[in-house]
Amino acid sequence: MKAIIIGCGRTGSSVARHLHDAGWEVVVVDEDEEVLSNLGARWAGRFIVGHGLDIDMLVESGIESADAVVVSTDGDNTNIVIGLIAQRRFHVERVVVRVLDPARAAFFAERGLHTVCPTSIAIGALTEAALVSETVSTEGASI
């Protein structure tokens, strides 16, 4: 299985390493050469310096035969547009896009783009954690 990871910050680099550990062929793309270090000293996969909207670079990365594309640059709109291109131009079956703004994540999800919204996930987890601690303390009081 082959994945292209676009954006090699904290999130992208970790996803790349997980997939690589799971036996995938992984190609990582980022504009900034420096972030290669995020992948760790022992990174054995490919790393390409380039912009995710550069069609020639995407072709060079092997997007046409990729099973999955994960887009996680630091720009929501950049991620959305790269995701749409991967889907509609290169017909990649599994495209996952990070979108921090919950409203935009929901809108593009409705339109068929698989968006993951860390903000919504954090809101859910924090709210749940707060509610659980409330239950725990109430229970504690009743004992």
């Binding site: 909207l53 720009g75 547009v81 131009r89 935009r104």
Partner: protein
């Protein structure tokens, strides 16, 4: 007409000014605080501060009405694409116009159906082609929706078509000559029109027919 403009740089501000002069209703969205203050001095309540790719900012600016026209003219092509997608698909804005900053991104606007677009660099390049006399086929207009292109062809001394009537030319499929301009006057091209050196011929063609048109009119 109600126009919503995303992006208050030079383009956004000048278009706002021009539309207001024509008595249109305009709201302009600008994100950068210092630029926002400058715009607010001139346009007062018509400027909204915020990121025009955020739904609540667009809603505050009245996208729900929806506007008759949405202009996405920020300096960021991805932002402009997203603004147009949201305006058309979520708020059913009947018309959008997008600015393309980097001509290499034109293909992304086309792929996603964001049209019409305006790209200053491409316009300037087209003008350069037009102004440089040696250039051969000059692209004048792309009719994107109809997949047709209108071009101008200067007939030179070595053109195989000079001295011939149009009906004598084997015009390739997917091309047609429209008019012939000679000494400042234009005439509709008919079969009996004779091409002469110095003529400027307008042609309409389907994409991909340029080489064949060049072969018939220009190459030997």
């Amino acid at each position: 007409m109600y126009v919503l403009i995303a992006g208050g740089g030079k383009v956004g501000a000048n278009v706002t000014r021009s539309l207001l002069r024509q008595n249109h209703e305009v709201t302009i969205i600008e994100q950068r605080p210092d630029r926002f203050r400058v715009l607010e001095e001139e346009f007062d309540y018509r400027v909204q501060r915020g990121d025009a790719t955020e739904l609540h900012v667009l809603e505050r600016a009245g996208i729900g009405r929806p506007p008759d026209l949405v202009l996405a003219v920020t300096g960021d092509d991805e932002d402009n694409i997203v603004i147009c997608e949201i305006a058309r698909k979520r708020y059913f804005a009947p018309k959008v116009i997008a600015r393309v900053n980097d001509p290499r991104n034109q293909t992304h606007f086309d792929l996603l159906g964001v049209a019409p677009t305006v790209c200053a660099t491409s316009s300037i390049m087209a003008l350069i082609e037009h102004e440089v006399p040696e250039s051969d086929i000059i692209r004048l207009l792309q009719l994107r929706d109809d997949e047709l292109e209108i071009v101008e062809v200067p007939i030179g001394a070595d053109s195989p078509s000079s001295g011939k009537r149009i009906e004598q030319l084997k015009m390739p499929d997917g091309t047609r000559l429209i008019s012939v301009a000679r000494e400042g006057r234009s005439e509709i091209a008919t079969g009996s029109t004779k091409l002469e050196v110095g003529d400027r011929v307008l042609a309409i063609l389907q994409p991909g027919c340029e080489d064949e048109l060049r072969r018939v009119l220009l190459k030997h």
